[in-house]
Amino acid sequence: MNKNERNERYNAYVESKIPKTHNFPSLLYAFLIGGLICVLGQTIKDSLLAIFDTMTPQDAGTWALIGLIFLASLLTGLGVFDDIGAIAGAGTIVPITGFSNSIASPALEFKKEGIIFGMCSKMFIVAGPVIVNGVVASIIVGLVYLIIGAF
C-alpha cells in the first residue's frame, strides 16, 4: 500500500469516527438566542420612536444598532459573551453582536502587547476579512448598478 492510499484510507476512517454535531439542538439554540437579539433590537427601535416624537425611523434603527454593539462589547469585556456564543453559535455571530465581539475580543486579548502594536493593529484580525469582503462586494455591486443605470 503506498503512502497516498494509506493516508486516504486513514482519513476516510477518521471521518467515520468523528462524532457529529447534533443539528437540532444547535439550530434551536441559534434560532432562540438569535431571535432574542433581534427582538431586543426591535424593542430599542420601537421604544425610541414612541418616546421621541421628532426621531425618524432611520435614526431609531441606528440607535438600536449602537445599543446592540455596546451591549455585545460590554458582555465581551465581562467575559460572558463567549459562554453565550458557545451555546448560540450562529445566533450570536450573524447579528451585529458577532461583529462587535469579533473586534472587542482581539482588542482585549492583545492589549498586553501595547496599545499601538498590540491592541490597534490586532483589533481587526477576525473582523478584517469581513470588512475587506464587504467593501469589495459593495464596489462590484456599485459598478453593476452604474453600468445598468447607464442604459
Binding site: N7, Y13, V14, P19, T76, D82, G85, G89, K112, I125
Partner: protein, 331 residues
C-alpha cells in the same frame, strides 16, 4: 545499549522527586487530590498568561529540586520545553536557575522526550542529576494557536482543551525512586490530517509507530505492562490508537489509559478531553508517579504524543506531522 529507536539503560536512572501544578479548571479533575498545587485563579498574580506559564514552570522546577532535598546548584542540567513560540516559557524560566539548560521542542510530547533525553544523559554517566520539566497554560496556548479567548464561536466536537498545568521530575543516578529502564524515541508520522481541531487523529499514527517499534524492540506485548499511558490523544485519538494497534495485532486492553481522555470530567465540556504539554506532565508527576511509588503499578509504559504544527503551517494548508516518545518506568 541501543536497538534502532529503543535504548536500554544499563544503570537505570531513577526519578528521585517530582512536583506538579494545576490550573483552576483542573481542580475538578478526579485526579485533583494528587496534584501538589492547584492555582486559585488562572493569572496567578501575573500581568499576562505567558508570565503565568513561566511562573508555573519556575515553581515546579524549584519545588521538585527542593523535594529531593537538593538546591539548584546540585542540578547538572535543566531539560525543558513548552508550546509557545521559541519555547519562551522554558528559556525565560531557565534564567532563574544557574544551571546548564537544554531546551527541547516536542510539542505535547515534551514530558516523555525530556525524561528520555535526561535518562540518556544520566545513564551515560555524563550528568548526575537532571531536572526534566514542562508546563502549558490554556490561555497562552489558545491565543497563540487559535482564536482570541473571548471570541464567541463554537468549538468543533473533535476539539480538545489545553491543560493548565505542569510538572517536573528529577532524574538521578543515585537515590531512591522508580527506575527508567527503557526509552523509545519516535519517528515523525504524517497521515495527511490537516484539521488542527482534530489533534487526536493527527497524533494517533505517531503513537502507533512508537508503540510498534517499542514492542518489537523490547520483545514485549501490551500485557507485560501494568499500565500503558498515552499523553493527550483525547477520546477520539485513543479510540483510533486502539483500532490501529488491533490492526497490527496488539490488543490494548484495560491496562491502557489516555491522560487527555480522563483528566477532565464529562460536565466540563472539553469534548475530546485535555491536551498540551501540561496534560501528560501533570498526570505523570502526580497520580502516576505516586501509584508507581506505592507499587500499585510496577511497570508502566509512559508515552507522550505531540502535534508538530505551527499556525503558519496550518494556514498554509500543510498537514500535521506528529511524534511520540515512550519510556518505561519500573518500581
Amino acid at each position: 545499549m541501543a536497538k534502532k529507536q529503543t535504548i536500554f539503560f544499563n544503570n537505570q536512572p531513577r526519578i528521585i522527586s517530582s512536583y506538579s501544578i494545576a490550573g483552576p479548571k483542573e481542580k475538578y479533575s478526579v485526579f485533583a487530590p494528587y496534584f501538589d498545587l492547584v492555582l486559585k485563579n488562572d493569572l496567578w498574580d501575573c500581568s499576562s498568561y505567558e508570565m503565568t506559564e513561566r511562573k508555573m514552570l519556575e515553581h515546579v522546577i524549584f519545588n521538585a529540586i527542593e523535594r529531593a532535598k537538593l538546591s539548584p546548584q546540585d542540578i547538572d542540567a535543566l531539560i525543558c520545553g513548552d508550546l509557545l513560540n521559541q519555547i519562551i516559557s522554558s528559556s525565560f524560566a531557565a534564567r532563574k536557575f544557574d544551571v546548564t539548560y537544554i531546551g527541547l521542542f516536542g510539542a505535547c510530547s515534551t514530558m516523555a522526550e525530556s525524561l528520555a533525553v535526561g535518562a540518556c544523559l544520566v545513564d551515560g554517566g555524563y550528568f548526575d542529576k537532571v531536572a526534566c520539566a514542562t508546563a502549558s497554560h490554556f490561555s497562552s496556548v489558545e491565543r497563540q494557536f487559535r482564536m482570541p479567548l473571548e471570541l464567541g464561536t463554537q468549538r468543533p466536537p473533535t476539539a480538545q482543551w489545553t491543560v493548565t498545568g505542569g510538572g517536573c521530575s528529577i532524574v538521578s543516578n543515585k537515590g531512591v525512586g522508580p527506575k527508567i529502564t527503557v526509552a523509545t524515541f519516535g519517528k515523525v508520522a504524517d497521515y495527511n490530517v490537516t484539521d488542527a481541531n482534530n489533534m487526536g487523529a493527527a497524533m494517533a499514527p505517531a503513537a502507533m509507530s512508537t508503540l510498534l517499534a517499542h514492542f518489537e524492540n523490547t520483545k514485549t506485548t501490551p500485557d507485560d505492562y501494568d499500565l500503558i499511558v498515552s499523553g493527550d490523544l483525547g477520546k477520539l485519538g485513543a479510540e483510533i490508537l486502539v483500532d490501529l494497534m488491533e490492526y497490527h495485532g496488539y490488543k490494548l486492553g484495560q491496562n491502557y489509559m489516555d491522560c487527555g481522555h480522563c483528566i477532565y470530567t464529562n460536565g466540563q465540556h472539553t469534548f475530546m478531553g485535555g491536551s498540551g504539554c501540561g496534560c501528560s506532565a501533570l498526570m505523570l508527576n502526580s497520580y502516576l508517579i505516586q501509584k508507581i511509588r506505592e507499587k500499585e503499578y510496577k511497570k508502566v509504559l509512559f508515552m507522550a504524543t505531540g502535534a508538530l504544527l505551527s499556525t503558519t503551517s496550518s494556514f498554509q494548508g500543510e498537514s500535521i506531522p506528529s511524534i511520540a516518545h515512550a519510556i518505561v518506568i519500573e518500581n
